[in-house]
Subunit: 142 residues, 4 copies
């Protein structure tokens, strides 16, 4: 099996996501890394962002982890009217949201955690997250 | 009245569901049996499945039990826009989801419990559950 | 790092706990195995036991896992008036209880999950759990 | 009024807390900084620490912030049997715990956030937190 994410790895992912956001002149981003069980490893909220950003980043990342799917697939299933996706935010106690910006973190093909990014458009949140994971050598399902 | 489900019966149902899933080369399944009051009797989560599978299997089975209906009927009512089905996940504290894979367990026509199966497509989850209940001599409403 | 618990391992632990309980003529036991992230892997509830046994077994196991401590230590700290232990059931959303019968599952000294046993006295719940883990070759902190 | 905490400041506080913990050979620490409204700004969880550390650090910090008091005063009031302190974890939805390691972050005498530290003894958690805030030029009520 793959080794668990370390704090150093989680922080390097967050730094790489933020670097991508700045390079692309995105809005300030908030970024959360969860371990494979859905528990927070590291988080930072962009300056001047709304107080709800932790909750949103958590819902994005935690939702992906609970069903082992990327935020894009979740968003598409919800848009297609999948009734599971309507119920999922309630099922998971508010820690699920059907929109891009949540993604799985893969090491050697195994899910070792999840990443939640929020602050710009969902497309840009996703792009920053994927860029950060790639820069740190992780696979992703976004 | 019909005799309550025993633990041995619950486990034999789970084993039969898993056997069907393996025979049909389905994805690893997670299977939950609830008693007639909606409380867990036995559960197992397939290897490598996401952490949210207990929650999903519970929502499928518990929802069926709360209104004594099969998951197919629930899903169809939700798809038809039934407002009750929109509210039900919240009404039941997250233990309700309008999709196939939840089913009633019947003995002599009486509801003695509910079964929740998740892991493959909803159609396959349902098929595995029905096959398992039939193999163990139970009636079902799925 | 240590490999994650498999479903086969979780089921063998439950079977060993139940065998010990029967050999010692204990009351019917309910037994839950959680993975390292606190999510259910396998459960069975003893015949004739109250409907709340899943919730109790979950609170025992999940509480141990959240703070990486055995149920005995948790119970002793609570008995000594530790204010954290008073608050912990609320902090962890009802998935924490300060009494014996919850224990950590260790492989090569690493926490790979948690076990919750309930049904007899807390002392016996603990004894059955420890016996089952030992019989299956796991370390424990109970 | 005092300027709001920036993300850079929050991260420098966490780094200083961690540096103190390492210098004093403490157990790995988990450290959370909340803004003046009680919402997460930055967090990191020490390697190998239990999954519940975010929840505990949040309860420590959030509790202090909600009543503008340090964790030591809160713990002492709870130990003296103050009924408010018994109710507070429930009042604040699980984001309150009466033990040291939560502290207010002050700038020019004004509360600009809160810090939660957990991982070693409560005394050491508090000491690391106070050392980190002092190293970064903040006042504290711990």
């Amino acid at each position: 099996m793959s080794a668990a994410l370390t704090l150093a790895e989680a922080k390097s992912v967050i730094a790489a996501v933020q670097a991508h956001g700045r390079a692309e002149r995105m809005e300030p981003l908030s970024v959360l890394v969860l371990d494979a069980g859905g528990h927070p490893l590291a988080f930072e909220r962009g300056d001047g962002t709304p107080p709800g950003h932790f909750t949103i980043a958590q819902a994005k990342a935690h939702g992906c982890l609970m069903i082992h799917a990327g935020g894009t697939a979740i968003e598409e299933r919800a848009a297609a009217g999948d009734p599971f996706m309507q119920a999922a935010p309630t099922l998971f106690g508010g820690r699920f949201v059907a929109c891009r910006g949540g993604m799985l973190i893969l090491r050697d093909g195994t899910v070792v955690g999840a990443l939640g990014v929020t602050g710009d458009t969902s497309e840009n949140d996703l792009a920053a997250g994927l860029a950060g994971l790639d820069a740190c050598g992780f696979g992703a399902e976004g």
